[in-house]
């Protein structure tokens, strides 16, 4: 026997490998297999019977009869298929993914005639040294682009200690809108180095004539196609319009991180701007197409969060959470929104807990807004009821866990601790392991796992 051939018992499992409805997911406790086996068995029976009958009535059968039976059989199979699909669709919500980027807009022009007026260039023209290199007055951007890419521009600016408006805007626009990777990453390094000189010790700070404002950062996002109110219309992902953001988003994220760092000393950004930025970055985490940038997004998130003063932060984090909760759809995406806040310092924990809580409040249509109220609602859910929505239960479970775990004060309240334990016991003990309803086992396993942790503490 060939090694690659399936073993005996694997052949039997061919149903596992080729389920009837192709895109469907397999459940832990093979609900689908059971069903498909059941239906297949049924249809086999019907076929057998049909065959028997055809054999027995071979001579008497008219074509009409045959057709009639075939039609019956096919309609029966169709029904089965339909039912399977219905079961399947309940579990279709398998991954978090939001299109937070829609159609891109046209980028602003990147030509800069006024660059020639850069004072260093001007003064150099009149210098005797120019005879050595023969720089002529009518230099276009490409010459300066060369300076930028090779890093000389930065050296020049550091040496003269001043960044003039023309160079500042030109490099800023290149960074955000150029389609050439080399240019935009050099421009980004340029800006980051100059901004960092403001907060680094031992480096003489560069005097900057022009600073970008928040509206410029926001404007860039709009041009990339960022949907500031995506919750209202979630676009069809397959549509060609939603190509996702351009690669310039990378430099946007890098720049924003440094800009926020400097901002805590220089105050370029209002508190409300930074609140919105924090929210935007969490939204970026929801787009699967950007998940490869999570390292960058995380450090940007960190620098936004740490740019608040202590007073600003106390007022801000619940604002961020509330606004975010009203935008995020109540599916796996809301869990992702909580989980992406993964910093280990106190502020991240605050925010994480607050976001989880606000989403939870939103789940119950803002009916209750106090902690015990929410918890009481949770334990009032009867998992034995026939139409209990286990997917929602799963969301509640994860949200509540994050909300309580990341809020030290709350977790230590005896009442909260008690109700939480009760809720977990409800989920883990009252759902039987043979409950085949969708997501039931998931809720049960999760609750059992969490209960273990509660016991340990």
């Amino acid at each position: 026997m060939d090694v690659d051939d399936p073993l005996d018992f694997e052949i039997e499992d061919s149903l596992l490998i080729n389920p009837v409805v192709p895109k469907k997911r397999k459940k832990l406790i093979g609900l689908d297999e059971l069903l498909s086996e059941h239906y297949k068995e049924q249809s086999k029976l019907i076929e057998k019977e049909a065959k028997k009958q055809t054999k027995a009535q071979k001579s008497y059968d008219s074509d009409e009869d045959k057709n009639c039976k075939e039609a019956k059989l096919s309609s029966l199979l169709d029904d089965c298929q339909e039912q399977m699909r219905a079961v399947g669709s309940q579990e279709e919500i398998s991954e978090w993914d939001l299109c937070v980027f829609g159609q891109q807009k046209t980028t602003p022009p990147l030509s800069f005639p006024e660059l020639g007026s850069w004072s260093i260039l001007q003064s150099f023209m009149n210098n005797e040294l120019n005879s050595l290199v023969g720089l002529v007055t009518k230099q276009d951007c490409s010459f300066l682009e060369g300076l930028l890419i090779n890093g000389w521009l930065l050296k020049l600016i550091f040496k003269c200690g001043c960044l003039e408006k023309s160079i500042a805007t030109w490099t800023f626009l290149l960074m955000l809108y150029s389609s050439k990777e080399e240019l935009r990453s050099s421009a980004c390094e340029f800006w980051c180095a100059i901004l960092s000189s403001k907060i680094q010790d031992g480096v003489p700070p560069v005097e900057i004539d022009w600073y970008p404002s928040y509206s410029e950062l926001k404007g860039a996002l709009e041009i990339y196609g960022f949907l500031f109110n995506f919750s209202s219309n979630i676009p069809d992902k397959n549509s060609s319009v939603f190509k996702g953001p351009p690669q310039n988003i990378i430099t946007w994220i890098k720049f924003t991180a440094v800009f926020c760092q400097v901002s805590c000393k220089q105050l370029f950004l209002l508190t409300s701007d930074r609140q919105e930025l924090a929210e935007v970055i969490i939204c970026l985490f929801l787009d699967r197409r950007l998940q490869g940038l999570s390292v960058l997004m995380r450090s940007c998130m960190q620098s936004v969060i740490s740019s608040f003063t202590e007073e600003e932060w106390i007022n801000s984090y619940s604002e961020i959470a509330k606004s975010l909760a009203s935008r995020v759809p109540m599916d796996l995406n809301c869990l992702r929104a909580v989980q992406c806040i993964s910093g280990v310092e106190t502020r991240s924990k605050h925010l994480k807990s607050a976001v989880a809580f606000q989403i939870l409040v939103n789940c119950f249509d803002n009916k209750v807004t106090d902690e015990e109220g929410i918890l009481n609602l949770l334990i009032s859910i009867n998992v034995k009821e026939k139409d209990c929505d286990f997917f929602k239960m799963y969301l509640y479970l994860v949200l509540t866990e994050n909300w309580l775990r990341y809020d030290q004060m709350l977790r230590d309240k005896p009442v909260v601790h008690e109700i939480w334990g009760l809720f977990l016991r409800n989920c883990s003990c009252q759902i039987s392991s043979t409950d085949l309803r969708s997501h039931a086992s998931k809720v049960r396993n999760k609750a059992a796992f969490l209960l273990q942790g509660v016991g340990n503490n």
Binding site: K26, N150, E182, K243, I250, G292, S342
Partner: protein
């Protein structure tokens, strides 16, 4: 002295039981994932597992390090690289664990004021290396079990990256190769976390034994890899990758390229790739610099008689790089473009020139005595008269000379702004400025004499021309 810590935070029995319970509980999440390996549920379970490890290790105020088994399971998830989401979260988690619970660190406070190096030998490490040659067979048999990296595996990984970097752009870059790049970055992080505290202690105490046992030294000293080939692969990776991402801009984010990538259903990989290639280059540079630092320390130890025959002999990496750069002109420019550590860049360029200008006898015993010849100033002086300049450009192409001079000057400028000029430690700003002006004048003079020697006209203003102009402007600014 080096201390070895046997037990970690959970010293009391109750703590250990809880920890064991937690470990079993968390690892159990993965059990069901084993039974149906590629399904969505398996992926979900793995994500849940990573989240659970993260929560267990970082949420408590003074977090307990995850157990060996847990870290290893996280590492396996990164190695398998089933999906971008799993790769990214496992990679980030591993780095955080590395940062929060280092294997090697310098103890902050000590009674007598000396600083101790603390090594936690029991801590899990993705690299399986040892000084003991005999243990290699044992390693080989274990390899299949735990899937850790032995020196051979490390070389294979780098080889894979080199192949990847030097294919054409149209290659089907997939999640797997992205995962390998991140895996490499993680391994470099591990090497760094082990190396940095050790070399700091070495520099204070001048005891080779601290560095002798560092992972990097053991890795490079392993007889199971060809050290030179490994270094060449590293070089070809760093040069290939940098050309690669510089090349992407041609199509940029134009309509066609975006559409193409979405046709491949690989958009998440495409956009990540750009960034990951860059960070891989940086990681490679970090690795090369660590090796060069190690080389220097080893040479010092050699001269003090602290090394034994067992330490083996390695060609210094600087020499290998110089050989490669002279042998393969095509990689010279990308290498200089991507390698941006000013100190080592200047060193490499000066050595490059010395290969052609210095007498062999001077070169071999150069080591510590910083003679005039072996500095940037010395190099510039050799361009001061036309006959010696002509001599040099007989041996090195004039374009290459310009490129090298421009990069060296830029590196010198960076160092002067960081106030790390060789031979000018702790000097005042005025002194730096004056030395900078001196250098700038010399550079201009060198370019002039190059032009004279080569009969170059003004029309030859390539990328070096830009540098030429910039230097002139700089000089103008300084004076």
């Amino acid at each position: 002295m080096e201390k070895r810590k046997i037990s970690n935070n959970c010293s009391n029995a109750r703590g250990r039981i809880n920890r064991g319970g937690m470990e079993a509980n968390i690892l159990a999440i993965l059990d069901s994932a084993e039974s149906h390996k590629d399904s969505q549920d398996a992926k979900d379970d793995r994500i849940d597992f990573l989240e659970a490890v993260r929560t267990a290790s970082f949420v408590p105020e003074n977090g307990t390090p995850p157990t060996e088994k847990m870290v290893e399971a996280v590492f396996q998830i990164l190695r398998e690289g089933k999906s971008l989401e799993l790769i990214m979260s496992s990679y980030e988690l591993l780095n955080e664990i590395e940062k929060s619970f280092p294997r090697v660190y310098i103890s902050e406070s000590s009674g007598n004021g000396s600083r101790d190096l603390i090594v936690i030998n029991e801590a899990w490490s993705p690299l399986m290396v040892s000084l003991d040659v005999m243990s290699s067979e044992r390693e080989a048999t274990q390899k299949n079990f735990c899937g850790l990296f032995d020196p051979n595996g490390f070389h294979e990984l780098v080889q894979g990256l080199a192949e990847l970097a030097n294919e054409t752009i149209s290659k089907g870059l997939d999640t797997k190769s992205l995962g390998n790049m991140l895996l490499f970055q993680y391994l470099v992080n591990v090497l760094e976390g082990d190396f940095v505290p050790r070399i700091n202690v070495y520099k204070e105490s001048m005891k080779w034994s601290f560095l002798k046992e560092c992972l990097l030294n053991m890795l490079l000293g392993s007889r199971r890899i060809n050290y030179k080939v490994l270094m060449k692969d590293c070089l070809s990776t760093i040069c290939g990758l940098c050309q690669d991402y510089a090349g992407i801009d041609e199509s940029g984010c134009s309509e066609t390229s975006m559409e193409k990538s979405s046709e491949n259903h690989n958009n998440d990989v495409t956009i990540a790739l750009l960034e990951v290639q860059k960070t891989t280059c940086m990681a490679m540079q970090k690795l090369l610099i660590m090796i060069m630092e190690l080389d220097i320390s080893k040479k010092q130890a050699d001269m003090k008689g602290q090394t034994t025959r067992a330490d083996g002999v390695r060609t210094p990496l600087v020499e290998i790089i110089l050989d490669e750069l002279t042998y393969d002109r095509d990689i010279l420019s990308p290498f200089l473009q991507v390698f941006n550590d000013p100190k080592w860049k200047l060193e490499l360029i000066v050595q490059y020139f010395l290969k052609y200008t210095a007498k062999p006898s001077v070169r071999t015993r150069r080591s510590n005595s910083h003679s005039e010849d072996s500095t940037f100033v010395g190099v510039l002086k050799s361009f001061s008269n036309s006959s010696s300049t002509k001599n040099i450009i007989k041996k090195i192409d004039v374009e290459v000379v310009q490129l090298l001079l421009a990069h060296a000057f830029q590196a010198y400028l960076s160092m002067s702004s960081q106030q790390h000029l060789p031979g000018l430690s702790n000097c005042k700003e005025a002194e730096i400025d004056s030395s900078l002006m001196e250098i700038s004048k010399n550079v201009i003079a060198a370019f002039n004499s190059l032009r004279g020697a080569d009969n170059m006209s003004n029309q030859a203003l390539g990328s070096c021309g830009v540098a030429n102009i910039s230097m002139s402007i700089l000089l103008h600014l300084i004076s």
